[in-house]
């Protein structure tokens, strides 16, 4: 537990992705089985046990700590887990040695509700401050250390000299503490078998298209599809198992019982999750209402009906199609679909075209809603994991642009911590500027130095790491769309905003007005 607690502690202060990977890899190398396997499970949200409620923890500490001192302390620290970890009066002669992570996880898994308080108190007595903090985080089910499941798997892959896609492919057949995975990573065991039914297959991703290269590509070698404005999913079903995965292999099926309950086929399908009403794609904001939910009410299911628009088939029953050319897979997909027409699924149509200019026209003015751009896929491309260069391209629509005024700047993190690198900008509503978004990339390192200097020289107010600046600098902001939002005073939020140009020359008074942004709202 000590090593795991030390890892969580350092991760919680480490902003850089590479730094996090290094910390996790180092932990895997230094920690024996089965603890490291349970740590991997904790970071990939793969542990299931009865969680302790905050009230239980408060009750335990109340039996041991003067209430006035506890309140003063809680007030100062502000976080219950941390307050308890710090204030817990461990007995000077610790009766038991601190528990291992494996002991914590396995005993919690088997513990009845009545045993929880005793277990927890005993462990809190035996651990140090960091250990107690980590234990409470673990037991209350909220690590919040800024590590995604994907990142943890990437670290595991790095530790074993494997690719993360190889790891993803076998992942869903494995269970904590992942002894077989670690044996494989250390060259002591074979690659674990891929689970046949319901497993995740690493997805194939597209490169952004460089339009200058287009003339060198043969139009007849490519199929074109619309790039839908939803989220990429993989449906994996067979032998009564049905799973819906995000493109990073996260199981997101829990939020979509309406979609999954009707699945009675065996196949692995690649497609786009969308809210679809009368065959038309609803705005992305509608889909957001359905995302990141563990459960979903009937009302939400009716108001925001989801579907999957299919564009590829990886397995038909037990038949692995990934080595076949895309043209064959497309035929197979169309035949498969025609024979079943499963509820909640439809086909993403091919977009016929003769030459690149004709396709460019379609991209500029798509005849349907919910389109972010086009996908170009070589007819002869096999389905390979990762982002190979060449077979698939995404050709997004040109971004929307607005001239906005810089209002606030915030210090960045990690390498950028001495720079003001996060910019909040606004547009005019009458005589006042209202913030519409925040961006922290799109500029070069040289431009960052200039922006940082400008911010320091034009500061009018400071709030901790944030500086308010005089209204004098116009930023050309590129974005993919506009949606309504309660988060900003303007009532609007930009999708995927980034700085496209710094308009040193443009007076702030000539920046855009809010009406210009309102006109981009869906349905406006």
């Amino acid at each position: 537990m000590k090593a795991f607690a030390g890892l969580l502690d350092r991760l919680s202060f480490q902003p850089q992705r590479l730094g996090k990977l290094r910390l996790i890899e180092d932990y895997f190398a230094a920690t024996p089985d089965p603890d490291r396997g349970y740590a991997l499970a904790a970071m990939t949200r793969g542990l299931t046990f009865r969680h302790a409620k905050p009230a239980l923890i408060r009750g335990l500490v109340a039996e041991r700590v003067d209430p006035v001192l506890f309140e003063l302390s809680y007030d100062y620290v502000g976080d219950l887990a941390e307050t308890v970890a710090l204030i817990w009066p461990a007995p000077a002669d610790a009766a038991a040695p601190p528990p291992s992570l494996a002991e914590v996880v396995t005993r919690l898994r088997d513990a009845g509700k009545a045993e929880l308080p005793g277990l927890l108190a005993g462990w809190l007595d035996a651990l140090d401050v960091t250990g107690r903090w980590a234990l409470i985080k673990l037991m209350t089910g909220g690590l919040r250390i800024g590590v995604s499941a994907r990142l943890a798997k990437t670290a595991f892959a790095g530790f074993g000299g494997l690719s993360v896609d190889e790891v993803e492919e076998v992942w869903h057949g494995q269970a904590p503490p992942y002894a077989a995975l670690f044996a494989w990573a250390e060259g002591r065991g074979d690659r674990p078998a891929v689970r046949a039914a319901g497993g995740f297959r690493p997805v194939m991703l597209a490169q952004p298209l460089d339009e200058a290269e287009l003339s060198g590509l043969d139009p007849s070698a490519y199929l074109a599809e619309w790039k839908w404005d939803g989220i990429r999913v993989q449906l994996s079903a067979g032998d009564g198992v049905v799973r819906l995965y995000s493109r990073t292999g996260e199981d997101i099926g829990g939020g979509f019982p309406d979609l999954l309950s009707a699945v009675d086929f065996g196949a692995v399908l690649d497609g786009e999750l969308l809210v679809i009403r009368d065959h038309a794609v609803a705005p992305f904001a509608d889909l957001q209402k359905r995302l990141n939910r563990k459960t979903v009410s009937g009302k939400l299911q009716r108001e925001f009906p989801v579907g999957v628009r299919l564009y590829d088939i990886l397995f038909d029953a037990g038949d692995d199609l990934r080595e076949r050319p895309l043209g064959d897979r497309r035929n197979r997909l169309e035949a498969w679909f025609a024979a079943r027409r499963p509820a909640g699924f439809d086909l993403s149509p091919l977009v016929p075209f003769d030459d690149w200019p004709a396709l460019a026209d379609l991209r500029r003015a798509p005849p349907v809603d919910g389109v972010e751009g086009l996908m170009l896929k070589r007819r002869d491309s096999a389905y390979v994991a990762g982002r190979p260069k060449g077979p698939w391209f995404k050709w997004k629509r040109d971004p929307l642009l607005a001239d906005a005024v810089l209002m606030y700047a915030q210090r960045g993190h990690g390498k950028r911590s001495s720079y003001y690198s996060d910019y909040t900008f606004g547009v005019w509503r009458g005589n006042e500027l209202v913030p519409v978004g925040k961006a922290y990339f799109g500029f070069t390192d040289a431009e960052l130095v200039e922006l940082d200097r400008w911010v320091r020289n034009h500061t009018t107010n400071r709030f901790g790491p944030v500086r308010e600046v005089s209204r004098g600098l116009v930023l050309e902001v590129a974005f993919d769309g506009v949606q309504r939002s309660g988060r900003h005073k303007s009532g609007l939020a930009l999708r995927f905003p980034r700085i496209s140009r710094i308009r040193w020359d443009k007076p702030a008074a000539e920046a855009d007005v809010i009406e210009a942004l309102l006109s981009h709202l869906p349905g406006a």
Binding site: Q14, L72, V77, D79, T83, H413, S418
Partner: protein, 335 residues
């Protein structure tokens, strides 16, 4: 017996001794001051006569030159002095080089003013000496039971482990210029780290002063004299204000760390945007504060300078008389 209130009382300028006619750590210029230690909120410029340990007088002279008091009177630990019928003695406080507690006594009433203190060993100054007394005036910087400083050696080990794990980065450690910088250097040397350590220019004078007082800090170099590329894998010490300063751009991929008792609270560490918080403090933590009041068992405890409420509550719970002095002008920062 004299009532304690007649021997020492809080005034807007700080604690004042009417029979002896002197202040202790006054926050405004006064005619006669006894100064517990050299931190800026305790040692202020512009007094008439200043009484302090020789090391504290040295530190004051370094920091304020001519403003360090018109008349400077050194008093060694353990020596006694009579000031207008009040017996004055200084005892080690274990806080920083030269730091002292002030024991004042008259007519059978003895009050000890702790100044800032800590109980754990510090290779750069003599250990706190418990002085029995009727009233103990305790600091309270970390007087909440959530402040429990871990062993220094663990924190130093954390730093060295991080330097091994990120050998291409420059570890940039924020330290207060007086006390923390030198203690961290000495602890690193104790732990066997013998490579040169690089300093921000603001730290060199105080390190030199410590060395003149016989404290070995190993090989120190100036960041300003070193090429950026040569600082990869090195340890740089800088004042906390420099951690996010543009000055850091002269370091290769700095990993910001900070050695302070405040780093025990995660929100404080996050506020400072440090990647490696080290809980190393020159102040007593909760366990040291309460153990000290238990050990001295004075009839009365006066609490100043921090989170008075919790320590007053604790002492009262132990049957001691306790009150908060509500002195103003001391900041919590040099912790």
């Amino acid at each position: 017996m004299l009532r304690p209130e007649d021997l020492l009382r809080p005034t807007p300028a700080g604690l004042y001794c009417p029979p002896g006619d002197f202040h202790i750590d006054p926050v405004r210029p006064v005619a006669r001051a006894i100064v517990t230690h050299g931190h800026a909120d305790h040692a202020r410029p512009g007094h008439g006569a200043v009484l302090a340990t020789p090391a504290t007088l040295d530190i004051m002279a370094l920091r304020m030159g001519d403003e360090a008091g018109r008349e400077r009177q050194p008093l060694d630990y353990g020596e006694r002095l009579d000031l207008n019928g009040v017996d004055v003695r200084l005892a080690p406080a274990g806080h920083v080089l030269g730091s002292a507690q002030v024991a004042v006594e008259r007519d059978g009433c003895r009050i000890v003013v702790s100044g800032d203190y800590k109980r754990r060993p510090d290779p750069t100054c003599p250990a706190f000496e418990p002085v029995p007394c009727d009233v103990f005036v305790s600091e309270a910087t970390f007087a909440l039971p959530v402040f429990r400083h871990p062993p220094d050696a663990d924190e130093i080990a954390k730093l060295l482990a991080s330097m091994r794990l990120f050998p291409e980065r420059c570890h940039l450690l924020g330290v207060y210029a007086l006390g923390k910088a030198q203690r961290v250097l000495a602890l690193l040397r104790q732990a066997g780290y013998d490579a040169p350590i690089y300093l921000h220019g603001a730290l060199t004078a105080m390190c030199d002063l410590y060395r003149r007082h016989g404290i070995d800090l190993g090989e120190l170099r100036l960041v300003a004299d070193t090429d950026k590329a040569d600082l990869a894998g090195r340890l740089v010490l800088a004042p906390p204000s420099a951690l996010q300063d543009r000055w850091t751009r002269r370091l290769p991929d700095p990993l910001p760390a900070f050695a302070s008792g405040w780093m025990g609270v995660r929100a404080r560490a996050r506020q400072r945007a440090v990647e490696l918080p080290l809980i190393i403090s020159d102040h007593a933590d909760w366990d040291e504060l309460t153990a000290t009041t238990d050990e001295l068992a004075p009839a009365e405890i006066w609490v100043t300078h921090g989170r008075e409420e919790a320590l007053v509550h604790y002492a009262r719970g132990r049957g001691q008389r306790a009150r908060a002095l509500a002195l103003v002008g001391y900041d919590e920062d040099a912790a």
